[in-house]
């Protein structure tokens, strides 16, 4: 097959196209999947343990929200409410680590964090996520200028949490100067959730009550991440695609002489375009597969990179993989076949001479 010969006899050019396509495709995958991963982790954290979330009215970010923990007594008395618990999420320097997540939680929620050693914390104590624990050998730890005793370590499926510490509500409240960031409520009856939301809303005028489903959908931080990652990955994608198209057309231009010779020998335009089509297809498809493979590899490694402490995670959706494949092939073919088509209309001798120059 002549396309394969052309590719294998010009290994440098082939490698150039191959790696430029690989890099472009990988950039697209990594940028979009990492941001999707971050969103996925955070929404998982909120969704797994509650049906309803209560935050401070008008405060769009859980970091700044302050809700009175005393509400929980009233909420627990509502019909169809099984449990409720409060959380404070914050971030602060921990020992020599410049910034890490801090999760204050009411005692009935400690079980969410699976103990891998020690015991759950009392007042003045913390447990460390496993990733963070690797960084400390001491018995005590300094968090926001306060000293805590380490009572144990925990593991979690959620990368965020493994890089942070868990403490009691009271301690976190002192640290971040609030009652609770949000309260999560579980119900035993999915049909009643809207009703419960209404009832809780009526308890207090300073709160905002939403199903966790809706909260995740509308959460501003997610929108910001999503929008900016969309912009960045679209730009990376566009640049990658233009790179692919321009490398392809450079290669085609450098082969004008060859096309001129083929035309002089009586080879048809169709013959030339057909061979180039297969060359481009083989090249861009294999580069795509390679990029996909590398991206999966990198995404699988990310959670294990200590420096990132599990904060960066990535998932790659089938739709985006297909979308990227289609556009990669399209641009590669456009970049090669369009100039080849134009070239094939030129008088053969001019192609041969242009190729020389």
């Amino acid at each position: 097959m002549i396309s394969l010969k052309a590719l294998s006899k010009n290994p440098f050019k082939s490698l150039l196209i191959f790696s430029s396509i690989t890099i472009a495709v990988m950039a697209i995958f990594l940028i979009s999947s990492v941001s999707q991963g971050i969103i996925g982790m955070f929404s998982k954290m909120i969704k797994t343990d509650g049906d309803i979330i209560i935050t401070q009215k008008g405060i769009s970010d859980t970091f700044f929200s302050n809700v009175n923990i005393a509400l929980m007594d009233k909420i627990d008395k509502l019909e169809h409410v099984t449990t409720s618990y409060a959380m404070i999420v914050g971030a602060s320097p921990i020992g020599h680590i410049p910034i890490a997540g801090i999760y204050g939680t009411s005692a009935n929620h400690f079980s969410h964090y699976k103990l891998s050693s020690g015991k759950y914390p009392n007042e003045g104590e913390v447990i460390l996520g496993e990733n963070l624990a690797k960084q400390f050998t001491t018995k005590n730890i300094n968090i926001g200028n306060k000293n805590f005793e380490i009572s144990g370590t925990y593991s979690s499926e959620i990368g965020f949490e493994e890089g942070g510490v868990v403490m009691n509500m009271g301690d976190a409240g002192n640290l971040f100067n609030r009652s609770a960031s949000f309260i999560l409520v579980s119900s035993d009856s999915p049909n009643e959730i809207d009703e419960i939301v209404k009832k809780i809303s009526n308890l207090n005028s300073e709160i905002e009550v939403k199903t966790t489903q809706n909260f995740v959908k509308e959460y501003n931080q997610f929108k910001i991440i999503e929008n900016s990652s969309f912009v960045i990955s679209t730009l990376a994608f566009a640049m990658g695609l233009m790179g692919i198209a321009s490398v392809m057309s450079m290669i085609v231009n450098s082969r004008k002489e060859e096309f001129g010779i083929m035309r002089a020998l009586g080879k048809s335009r169709f013959f030339i375009i057909k061979n180039l089509f297969f060359e481009t297809l083989i090249m861009s498809f294999s580069a795509y597969l390679f990029a996909l493979f590398l991206s999966f590899g990198i995404l699988a490694l990310l959670p294990h990179i200590e420096m990132l402490q599990g904060y960066v995670n990535g998932t790659l959706s089938l739709t985006s993989a297909i979308y990227v494949l289609a556009s990669t092939l399209f641009m590669a073919l456009l970049g090669s076949l369009f100039p080849a088509w134009i070239a094939s209309k030129t008088d053969p001798i001019l192609l041969i001479n242009q190729g020389c120059a």
């Binding site: 010009n10 002489e257 083929m262 002089a264 009586g266 080879k267 048809s268 001798i349 041969i352």
Partner: protein, 207 residues
Amino acid sequence: MIQASNISHFYGSEQVLFDLSFEIKSGEFLFLSGESGSGKSTLLSILSTLLKPSMGELLIDTEAVDKIKNIDYFRQSKIGFVFQFHYLINYLSVYENIALAAMDNKKENINRILDELGILELSSRYPNEISGGQRQRVAVARALVNEPKIIFADEPTGSLDSKNSTIVYGLLAEAVKNGTTVVVASHDMQIQNYATKIIRLKDGQIL
């Protein structure tokens, strides 16, 4: 075999061929001579259908070139080319280069021609693995493979030493003996010894 009438050619606004009319008869060995820049390559490209003339009419084998429906088939079956710089395809072997040009029913000629030209043992080598003289012989073999009615050669010995030049001229003369019409553009006067007709060009006009 070839009838050229009132051929003129312009590159942009610069006219390089001026109203040329002449005839090339079947079986002739025509030598297109002239200094560098006189228009030999341009005329040869036009005669060989690789360049459309700005003006004028060209008949090859009684067919008007601008009316030919399948120019690809016409080129492949009737015309052979030899260029100054061999123009072999670098990613194909000697054999494959010739096979690329060969029509399906002429593929059996390949080994015979390679043998006649003394390059059969180079069949599986690539163009960058053989000498300049050998490459040019491969180019001649490629031009001969379809047993064309006409062979065009533009400075076929331009990059060869005199020993290899003589070999190439010998091969072209051999083709003429077998009934092929050969048109060679060159500033090398050595061809005079082989040619049956000479057309001299100067500044795009026939002297």
